[in-house]
Subunit: 320 residues, 4 copies
Amino acid sequence: MKRIGVLTSGGDAPGMNAAVRAVTRKAIYDGMEVYGINYGYAGLVAGDIRRLEIADVGDKIQRGGTFLYSARYPEFATLEGQLKGIEQLKKFGIEGLVVIGGDGSYHGALALTKHGFPAVGVPGTIDNDIPGTDFTIGFDTAINTVLESVDRIRDTATSHVRTFIIEVMGRNAGDIALWAGVAGGADDIIIPEHNFDMSKVAKKIQEGRDRGKKHCLIILAEGVMSGEKFSKELDTYGDFHTRVSVLGHVVRGGSPTARDRVLASKFGWTAVELLQQGKGGLCIGIKDNEIVASDIVKTLEGGKHQPDLSLYRLNNEISF
Amino acid sequence: MKRIGVLTSGGDAPGMNAAVRAVTRKAIYDGMEVYGINYGYAGLVAGDIRRLEIADVGDKIQRGGTFLYSARYPEFATLEGQLKGIEQLKKFGIEGLVVIGGDGSYHGALALTKHGFPAVGVPGTIDNDIPGTDFTIGFDTAINTVLESVDRIRDTATSHVRTFIIEVMGRNAGDIALWAGVAGGADDIIIPEHNFDMSKVAKKIQEGRDRGKKHCLIILAEGVMSGEKFSKELDTYGDFHTRVSVLGHVVRGGSPTARDRVLASKFGWTAVELLQQGKGGLCIGIKDNEIVASDIVKTLEGGKHQPDLSLYRLNNEISF
Amino acid sequence: MKRIGVLTSGGDAPGMNAAVRAVTRKAIYDGMEVYGINYGYAGLVAGDIRRLEIADVGDKIQRGGTFLYSARYPEFATLEGQLKGIEQLKKFGIEGLVVIGGDGSYHGALALTKHGFPAVGVPGTIDNDIPGTDFTIGFDTAINTVLESVDRIRDTATSHVRTFIIEVMGRNAGDIALWAGVAGGADDIIIPEHNFDMSKVAKKIQEGRDRGKKHCLIILAEGVMSGEKFSKELDTYGDFHTRVSVLGHVVRGGSPTARDRVLASKFGWTAVELLQQGKGGLCIGIKDNEIVASDIVKTLEGGKHQPDLSLYRLNNEISF
Amino acid sequence: MKRIGVLTSGGDAPGMNAAVRAVTRKAIYDGMEVYGINYGYAGLVAGDIRRLEIADVGDKIQRGGTFLYSARYPEFATLEGQLKGIEQLKKFGIEGLVVIGGDGSYHGALALTKHGFPAVGVPGTIDNDIPGTDFTIGFDTAINTVLESVDRIRDTATSHVRTFIIEVMGRNAGDIALWAGVAGGADDIIIPEHNFDMSKVAKKIQEGRDRGKKHCLIILAEGVMSGEKFSKELDTYGDFHTRVSVLGHVVRGGSPTARDRVLASKFGWTAVELLQQGKGGLCIGIKDNEIVASDIVKTLEGGKHQPDLSLYRLNNEISF
């Protein structure tokens, strides 16, 4: 393989730039040329493609977002879109593609591979909800950003003896809530993957109050319900001086953590190694602290990502 | 004066602990005793009062919130409440009081002074909306916290070519929006103290788009309208891929910045100096970079705080 | 077991407080009493021991350092010291001990177990140099702190077109240098576990210069040689506008990252589980992303910790 | 004036990019063209000059360092260097120059003005040691960066009951030490502008120890003596478990604080206003919270900058 392409797709995640850098540098190190595709699959179809040199990815490892830009592009689910994409790739002489993003990105990579064009997926999303990997690029940064806010809110909660419902990202996945909850010393963590009993939540808060505890923090994944709704339901069990805080887009950007940069670098490096061997239809991941590559079809069919539910029990036994 | 008290009141602000520390240490340095009053005026009336020694304020200068806690207590606006408070102060042998907080705190301090009990107000609130001072304790930290979020949102806005409406605190005051807006490179800043024309906002965004600008950030003080409402109105002028981000309680806590710690230390020190001279009914401030003390009555009657509106013009001429 | 003790020993590491909190809360959750021992083994021998209640570990998860204090105490290597320690433990009715710290702490825990007193070791050190675990408590925070400095230095290096030798902690272990080096985009990483050729280092810098690269960052583990010495040797190969920056004690403290807090919580929880089962002479760790407990003797005899040397090759192929 | 130039000179300081952005945008807003000069006076003489458009300063306000690069260039003190510089300026049709930097930069601006070429100086240096202004661009960021380290060191100092000598930048100026010292709760602050008595330093530490104080932090400006030397002298008065930490280049870079970005924006805007009026030989500053412009000659002759020594007394009376 003499020339590969790289694109980022779906919601931006800190560490995407580090992954693009690793892909670019590793490919150049191995004697290949690299082309960056702007705006994900939309730019692929539109031919918004340019050569990346060593310096183009310099001073990028520490930057949040993605300098290749990203965009939603549902049209790539159609055969027409895919064939246009392959046409563009051929026009630029690109023989293999690295796709960095979430679920949608994987489906695109799979479609390309099925058409005979080797594509490799790299999991990049703050939600950590991609099958085939224990951790995605951006997750570590996101939980630390959430944690900074939780720590700040704790100051206010303590000062005013309040209960805070902190709504965090996670429509289907409780990973952010679980990790930030344990790390933030949350009294309760409410996630889609585990049921909860509002009366028990209220009882726990009351017990803390009775013991003289000043603050109470509840981390709520948005997929369960909104913070406002949760707060109103909780209020029917007593007056806990409840306030709601919604952490939205603010936790998406930012300079990636050390772990996200290292993970992204390993992922990007590995993707190039696989393409060099002519392999496609694979997605990279980290499993049990080891970099792995799995078949995208099997991975997507194998069911959705499961969060580390041991954290749920852990929190119950150490946070009160 | 042999014994003074100190309390924090109203919303917590980073640097309040630094101010309490300065009050405590300065008073002890000068040979006085210091009593900390928990939960603001509520604790004053309830007699929730304890001696503060040197070590009680150790390892506190860097902490957000207020370790003396705070609480709303509208009852202190009544004569009955005020007399109860003075009774408690006398019971503990306290001869002067430092009150750290916002508007409400000043009114309490004024009432006490009118009853013959010397009280000095120290401006502590993130909103910077207290008359008699250019800057309040907590404001510098708050704008830096907002700025961190603005910087993160910029990553996402750029990656997806979006317009973000960032709603920040400020019901009556545009200070946070102005400072964070200029510092964040906001395309527009919308504040209560200045009118705006939505068609011009839209035109500016469109001009940026036409020039190839990827992101657009608009900082909106909550006092003008909600981010949601603003976004909907803006959408009637065109499709700018608008998203809304509301920065609420997360910007209230956190470790104070250097400037807030220094300001709080100077304010606390000065409050003790004034009480020692038997002076009350005063509020501390910083005006033209100098620590000043003004009459609370005149200050409260003198009209509300004005933000630095030169920032508004400045931003128009350098952010586009 | 009805009563356990906990101490921290060796250099402080961010996350130690989170571990003490987890030990305390988990034990109380399981119906046991917990005693905190101040100043590590020194305090154990001196009997500086106190009961820890739920509230004593409240508001501690986010704090750096160790609120149980730490101290060097070589006397605990002697039989006399150990017997005195056991005497104190018995005096307080303590039946099992959790020891959080590095190598020395493990030896103490082992000695106690050999004398029939069950003790469990938890790896807490920023250096990541403890056998029996892939990661220690504090390492993740330390590499992120180093990384912040590396990012800052990059600004200056780029602005002035300079080469910076950044000396980081690691007398025997290159883990901090490797992770911070990969994450910081270092041109070269110099560690005790891998030899290096100064002429090649110089050649790589020159190649970057020739390509127009503005900054050059070299991360050096202190165990190899001092930054000053390295700089002088490098200078014999050419004028690279070299500056040296030594990151010392500043990277030791600070609020722990999400990962360190979660890891510390899991470790602390597990240590109590083991003691409850009457098990001692074990050390906790995380291996291949799973919490494990291994025999301390075998672990200490099993040779020293090995860093992830794949990072070394990775960096060579993506950083230039 | 139709075309102006801008350069940064001397050590880089956070906020320089914000100043260049303000200069560029304000000039374009006013209908002028802007040229950026790389590497300070060196690039001026070499003709390393390029047009700056709106987008060239986009996404720069939040970045540390200077994207125009900086360099030492003593040759500009010679007549020959100055004439060459003016020749280049004329070649590019540049009619006025904004110079952002420290003392040396001012001398260059003065020389140009004397030769009839209007140049305006903007104070940019972390040291805050420029006459004619209360604050320089970069100072606020630097003290907050130092403060983060001080806060971290406090964790370790407390955990191990140690005394830390923290050596900070400031060869001639104690500003960083004073502000970071007061904000960090330093037990003592040692600066060039105030003498000190080592026996009193030792006595104060001992008194803290006797009272049970765990940590002791001493902030030392490098201009007084090295941390190592100070530590050795202190050790002759007793064993205070002293450690030394030197904060060097790490405090120079980093994303600027809100205040530095606002100050830089105001300074840059004002510099363009002055040039438009044909004024040169001036330096911008902030005095008593107001933006001012003063004659460079008088400012440089008027004696060196004085730090706010009231902070010295303040710290003595609140830090113990």
